[in-house]
């Protein structure tokens, strides 16, 4: 039993080492701020650890982590949705000075606009264009149809264009 537990710890830490950074980057597009993104990812890893024996396919653990992060983010976002409607995104997710330097200005404008998208549209955009999932994989992750993924993504690009256009200096 102790051996099994040790093997689980080693496998889980390997998973952490290989996937943490990717998931943190993924989570930052769904969370309210950087520390919440960390919180989401760490909680997802804790849950995977607790259910390690129940995971049928450990090679698919990262996918499970991703879905857990999505669901955790949804839960938190839902509770704050009213407050969020009345706050500017830039106030919620103020980038650090370091990040401001590192991120290209144009990229940041687009990412800020992505954070303004309705949840489903934002999830589709992040899964499709950041995580590089196919339409089918995105549909399975979000448990919606492929047609919905296409519709949400298309709508998201339209909305992004409108947001960015409205922010252009006159």
């Amino acid at each position: 039993m102790r051996e099994t537990s040790k093997a689980r710890d080693v496998a889980w830490e390997d998973l952490f080492e290989s996937a943490y950074e990717r998931l943190l980057r993924f989570a930052q597009f769904l969370a309210d701020d950087g520390s919440e993104a960390e919180e989401l990812v760490q909680e997802a890893f804790v849950r995977v650890y607790q259910r390690w024996e129940r995971l049928e396919d450990h090679s698919a653990a990262e996918g499970y982590l991703r879905v857990t992060v999505l669901n955790l983010a949804r839960g938190r976002v839902r509770r704050r949705i009213i407050a969020r409607r009345h706050r500017a995104v830039s106030d919620e997710y103020a980038p650090s000075a370091e990040r401001q330097v590192l991120a290209r200005e144009g990229d940041r404008a687009i990412v800020d606009a992505i954070r303004l998208l309705p949840r489903r549209q934002r999830e589709c955009v992040v899964l499709r264009y950041y995580t590089d999932l196919s339409v089918d994989e995105t549909a399975r992750t979000l448990e919606i149809s492929q047609g919905s993924v296409k519709a949400y993504t298309h709508r998201a690009l339209e909305t992004l264009s409108q947001i960015l256009k409205s922010e252009e200096p006159v």
């Binding site: 830490e13 952490f16 080492e17 943490y20 950074e21 943190l24 980057r25 930052q28 597009f29 950087g34 960390e38 990812v41 760490q42 909680e43 890893f45 804790v46 849950r47 650890y49 607790q50 259910r51 129940r54 499970y64 879905v67 857990t68 669901n71 949804r74 839960g75 938190r76 839902r78 509770r79 370091e98 990040r99 590192l102 991120a103 290209r104 144009g106 990229d107 940041r108 687009i110 990412v111 992505i114 309705p118 949840r119 489903r120 955009v125 992040v126 499709r128 264009y129 950041y130 590089d132 979000l142 448990e143 919606i144 919905s148 949400y152 690009l157 339209e158 992004l160 264009s161 960015l164």
Partner: protein, 195 residues
């Protein structure tokens, strides 16, 4: 219109600016895992013959409930995932000694947050004040547990005991289904009383 490539570039470019901090994060996450294990162990010891882990499924099963889920699915894209749940089931919540500790342990992939409600009493109040109403469905717990955990109750019989507690009435109808670690006698009586 903005192109897919531009969005992809922006996301990847921005993501690269995230400071990793992996070492500290691993240490913090390890601490959290250790904390959970300690808490679970304490609960197991303290629980003894009484309930240790209670999984509560709150079911809304009458046609009103189904209609509501149906309407939500149609009108609110955020609620679409409810369509994949058994008809009328709105929440699967795990309680540890009366406190909500988790909201999707039995349902990976299902967004069922605690909604800021932490005690069984708060949850009971929440459900009884639900305008949708419900009827008693004695098998709800078993179905939920098996569907979302991928395990059968029989396989778990040494660890869990299925208790279906039908609470409320037609006037304030709600059902709480509890899976607990108590003995077989409790299970038997609960099933009988439920029937």
């Amino acid at each position: 219109m903005i192109t897919e490539e531009r969005v992809r570039d922006a996301l990847h470019g921005y993501a690269e600016s995230v400071p990793p901090g992996r070492g500290e994060a691993l240490a913090r996450t390890r601490q959290r895992v250790a904390g959970r294990r300690r808490r679970n162990r304490s609960a197991s010891i303290a629980g003894g013959l009484t309930a240790v882990v209670i999984a509560a499924a709150i079911a809304v099963l009458v046609s009103g409930g189904r209609d509501r889920a149906h309407v939500e699915t149609k009108t609110d894209p955020a609620q679409q995932t409810t369509a994949t749940m058994p008809a009328g089931i709105t929440d699967v919540v795990v309680f540890d000694e009366g406190r909500c500790i988790d909201d999707d342990t039995l349902a990976p992939g299902q967004p069922t947050p605690c909604n800021g409600l932490h005690t069984t009493e708060e949850y009971a109040e929440f459900v009884s004040s639900s305008p949708t109403g419900t009827v008693v469905w004695l098998d709800a717990c078993r179905v939920l547990f098996e569907r979302y955990s991928g395990r059968s109750i029989d396989q778990e019989s040494s660890r869990y005991d299925l208790v279906v507690a039908a609470e409320g009435s037609e006037a304030a109808p709600h059902v709480r289904c509890m899976i607990r670690s108590s003995g077989a006698q409790t299970r038997g009586s609960a099933r009988r009383s439920g029937q």
